[in-house]
């Protein structure tokens, strides 16, 4: 099946159950229970959003969120934020190591939490925009939006491993 690209305003969304939505095309065609997903969840938050049906089959791709009408964009962003919600670390309260397992106690926008990192080198990645993504021993993801926005102590503890 040829891939269908949508620029933005050709569709009308109705959100169902937080991460699913029904889509109506300007042609009148309707698609139900689609799940929007970012094709570039790490590098491009607002471009190339794919819509998958219940079988995981792609139905179409939206090129740019910006091209959508404001209301519709907000709805879609809500769906995406619900799906891609990961805790944002705001402070590293403490960090300790035992038997090669690092225990991080962090303050996040969703509360305080403690998690383990098995391998520092593989589990942490810093990007050129100073963002750091972390994956813990249970494959949960965390984000530090900008390492230089954290307090000095947190920076001092984290940066040497970057």
């Amino acid at each position: 099946m040829a891939r269908i690209f949508i620029d933005g305003n050709e569709i009308h969304l109705t959100v169902k159950d937080k991460i699913f939505c029904d889509v109506e095309f300007f042609t009148g065609e309707k698609l139900f229970n689609l799940e929007p997903r970012r094709l570039f969840p790490v590098s491009g938050h607002s471009e190339y959003i794919t819509f998958l049906d219940e079988n995981g089959e792609e139905r179409f791709i939206l090129r740019k969120l910006e091209n959508m009408e404001e209301n519709q964009r907000a709805l879609l962003l809500g769906c995406l934020e619900e799906y891609y919600r990961i805790p944002k670390i705001t402070r590293l309260i403490s960090r300790s190591e035992k038997h090669r397992i690092w225990l991080w106690n962090v303050e996040t926008d969703r509360g305080n939490y403690t998690f383990e990192i098995i391998n520092h080198i593989q589990s942490m990645k810093m990007f050129y925009d100073k963002r750091i993504l972390i994956k813990d021993g249970n494959d949960n993801r965390y984000e530090i939006p900008n390492i230089y926005d954290l307090d000095k102590r947190s920076q001092k503890l984290i940066l040497p491993d970057m």
Partner: protein, 753 residues
């Protein structure tokens, strides 16, 4: 009421318990419960689900009244929805509305899957006891953590390999020094001799300045000079001997370390390689061992020597003039403080340099073996740019470390010089004012000792630099040396022979908890069965094989071969009983003969010829100028895909295994070659249990059973005839392929005409 022995992942809080206790009265008891770690709005907190024989009760702040009860009869679908950052246990009611029962991090994902499976299967009519046993299995797997270090154990009550006999980093390193203890002690003895010899000349200098030269005693002068020469001969001669023995010991340590890391790397589970780049492993074997060896020698040799030198000098200086000695010690605390500061500053820099080094090694190990691909896409420039960027990153970090490393020793030297200047000033005044208390010769000699004294001080001050560097390398090496190897619980437990009965019981598996790969796999294959495994790409076919090969052991459920759990069979023996032919056969940089004989070291040449013949490889090998002695390039360069595949089959033939596995063995070859390979396979599978993953269904003609895998589930299992009659997925796949083969044949015929 809530039973005291309730199956639960962790104790519920009082708040949850209070709500739960109100829900269950009389005989209405929960069978198991899951305590979650998130609120429904994904804040960290607590939620819970309690599951009885006929209903599920969700407890959490997000529900009106703090709970939500749902009878199984009112559930049309219950499943775990994995999202990017967490997961939700979702139920769809018969009325069509959707309810989020509990939100949790991926740490709880397996257990919530088990809860959803329990409800689904019980609703479908399966026995509660059987399904509860599967849930219990998941709970056991979840709860088997080491009480000491918290690491997940391979099986309940298993010993934690991470905690077994592990001391501190130093004690691990001492293991590598131990075999060379004699040599190193001998070197220390030689060092003491040279140190003693080095302390003599300054004392002789004071004699020369104060008595021999002013006294004009030429005979004495010659005698002193000859004595000095002898001292120097002893000092440097023994120094050379020591250097030789030290090198031998040092090389031995590094060789042992490299061998140990490589050996460990061979036995590490596939999961380690899934998460670690080859570049990083190569870097550890090559560079880090050298850094560590240098540090170990510094500690065991230089540190001891410098310590003795320092003590010797202090004693001599004290005997000469205690006041000047105390003056010369003034800079020591400053030097020590600087050293500590330097250590803190340089440590993180070395860690970053190491990371950049790994990035460079990773690019090298990625692009050099794949140089054909780089060239075919004219990507040389891009590769160079990418490499340069990484090298520049490394350079940037190295420059920063270089700056700190360059400033510090000079600051130390300056402080030491200040100490000497103080001695010159105070001592000079003393010689002028009270020559009877301090002679010129003693002052000159004292200055010599002072400069010698600061060598050990400087050494210990700089030790933190090499310590930090070594610490960074040690950490990386320990990552491999202390990593958990593949678990071989059934060591030495072999079977008389493997007949070939294979059974999967309630097997669940995920590489990564955010995505489940195999879901509740159950099937039995009888000895001699030829089983085709079909399904779309990514459906989990190869993962089934990976589990059967014991490449991954951390699955839930059981896999049995001849009714014995494969985890209870000696791993080496078990794998030797399985012939595994991959889609992309790997060849080593060796002769064709050795590549075939890889599966049976020491094989007789005729065995290898016979195996090659059965695999339809003998023909093309004989046509090669060097025949069986043909040296294959890296990864089998010089042979076509079909030829490499036939060598790979010859390897399997030589092994004479009880079970055969073909993982898309013919998918990458043309029809003619496919026929040759298929003939070879048909000869090989006679009387052996065979599992064949096939993309082209035509290659499964010999299969008497078919397993259809879809999205990690077995959706069809039976004889080909049964599945055709079922008119399900297999039927559709057969029809699609027959149609496309027909079209292809028609097109080929048209072209031919």
């Amino acid at each position: 009421m809530i039973p005291k022995s309730l199956l639960i992942n962790r104790p519920a809080s009082k708040k949850i318990l209070k709500v739960a206790e109100k829900q269950f009265k009389g005989n209405d008891k929960p069978l198991f419960a899951v305590i979650g770690d998130l609120e429904l709005d994904s804040s960290y907190g607590e939620g819970a689900v309690y599951v009885t024989e006929n209903r599920i009760v969700a407890i959490g702040e997000g529900f009106d009244g703090g709970f939500f009860s749902l009878d199984f009869a009112n559930i049309s679908k219950i499943s775990v929805k994995r999202m990017y950052g967490n997961a939700v246990l979702k139920a769809v009611t018969t009325g069509g509305s959707s309810v989020d029962l509990m939100r949790f991090t991926f740490a709880m994902a397996d257990i919530c899957d088990a809860a959803a499976d329990f409800i689904t299967k019980v609703k479908e009519g399966e026995s509660i006891e059987d399904r509860l046993a599967a849930v219990d299995n998941t709970f056991k797997n979840l709860r088997s953590f080491c009480p000491k270090c918290g690491r997940k154990l391979p099986s309940p009550n298993a010993d934690c390999l991470n905690c077994q006999g592990k001391g501190k980093m130093a004690s691990t390193l001492l293991r590598y020094i131990k075999p060379y203890t004699g040599k190193l002690i001998f070197c220390i003895f030689l060092s003491l001799v040279t140190t003693f010899a080095a302390l003599v000349p300054p004392y002789v200098t004071s004699l020369m300045v104060d008595s021999v030269i002013p006294g004009g005693d030429k005979k004495m002068l010659v005698a002193v000079i000859i004595f000095l020469l002898l001292i120097y001969v002893v000092q440097y001669g023994i120094g050379a001997l020591r250097a030789y023995h030290l090198r031998i010991a040092g090389d031995g340590i590094i060789a042992d370390l490299k061998k140990e890391i490589y050996k460990k790397a061979q036995y590490l589970p596939m999961k380690f390689y899934d998460k670690t780049s080859t570049g990083s492993v190569i870097n550890r074997v090559n560079s880090d061992t050298t850094v560590l060896q240098q540090f170990m020698l510094r500690i065991t040799q230089e540190a001891v020597v410098q310590l003795f030198t320092m003590i010797g000098i202090i004693v001599i200086m004290m005997c000469m003039n205690w006041k000047l000695t105390l003056l010369s010690l003034i800079p020591v605390p400053v030097v020590v403080c600087c050293s500590r500061y330097f250590g803190k500053k340089i440590g993180p820099l070395y860690r970053r340099i190491w990371r950049r080094g790994v990035a460079i090694s990773t690019i090298l190990s990625d692009t050099i073996p794949a140089i054909r691909i780089v060239k075919s896409f004219s990507s040389e420039e891009k590769a160079v740019k990418n490499f340069s960027r990484q090298v520049d990153d490394w350079l940037y970090e190295d420059k920063k470390a270089g700056k700190v490393a360059a400033i510090f020793p000079n600051v130390i030297t300056f402080l030491i010089t200040c100490g000497s200047v103080i001695i010159w000033f105070v001592g000079g005044n003393m010689v002028i004012d009270t020559p009877e208390k301090l002679s010129l010769g003693v002052l000159v000699s004292f200055i010599s000792y002072t400069s010698m004294f600061y060598n050990p001080v400087s050494f210990f001050a700089n030790l933190s630099d090499s310590y930090q560097n070594a610490l960074a390398s040690t950490e990386k090496i320990m990552d491999i040396i202390n990593a958990e190897p593949e678990h071989d619980f059934g060591k030495d437990n072999t079977l008389d022979m493997i007949k070939g009965k294979i059974e999967f019981r309630n097997v669940n598996f995920s590489f990564d908890r955010s995505k489940k790969v195999l879901n509740d796999i159950n099937f039995v294959i009888n000895p001699g069965d030829v089983v085709g495994i079909v399904g779309t790409t990514g459906s989990g076919k190869s993962t089934l094989i990976n589990l059967l090969m014991r490449f991954y052991d951390d699955y839930e459920g059981e896999i049995l071969v001849d009714d014995v759990n494969i985890k209870d069979i000696d791993m080496g023996y078990y794998r030797s009983q399985i012939g595994y032919v991959q889609q992309e056969p790997m060849m080593f940089r060796d002769t064709i003969f050795n590549n075939i004989a890889y599966s049976l070291p020491g094989a007789h040449p005729e065995q290898v010829l016979n195996a090659a013949d059965i695999a339809n490889a003998h023909g093309f090998i004989t046509r090669l100028p060097d025949a069986y002695d043909t040296m294959l390039g890296e990864r089998g360069v010089g042979l076509s895909g079909g030829e490499k595949q036939r060598l790979s089959i010859a390897r399997a033939v030589l092994k004479n295994p009880g079970v055969l596995i073909f993982d898309e063995a013919t998918s990458a070859v043309d029809s003619e070659t496919e026929k040759l390979i298929q003939d070879a396979i048909n000869r090989l599978i006679r009387g052996r249990t065979t599992l064949m993953i096939a993309h082209r269904l035509s290659t499964l003609r010999k299969a008497n059973k078919i397993i259809v895998v879809d999205k990690g589930n077995i959706i069809e299992f039976g004889t080909p005839e049964e599945l055709m009659a079922l008119k399900g997925k297999y039927y559709k796949l057969i029809n699609i392929q027959s149609m496309s083969e027909k079209v292809a044949a028609e097109k080929a015929a048209e072209n031919f005409e």
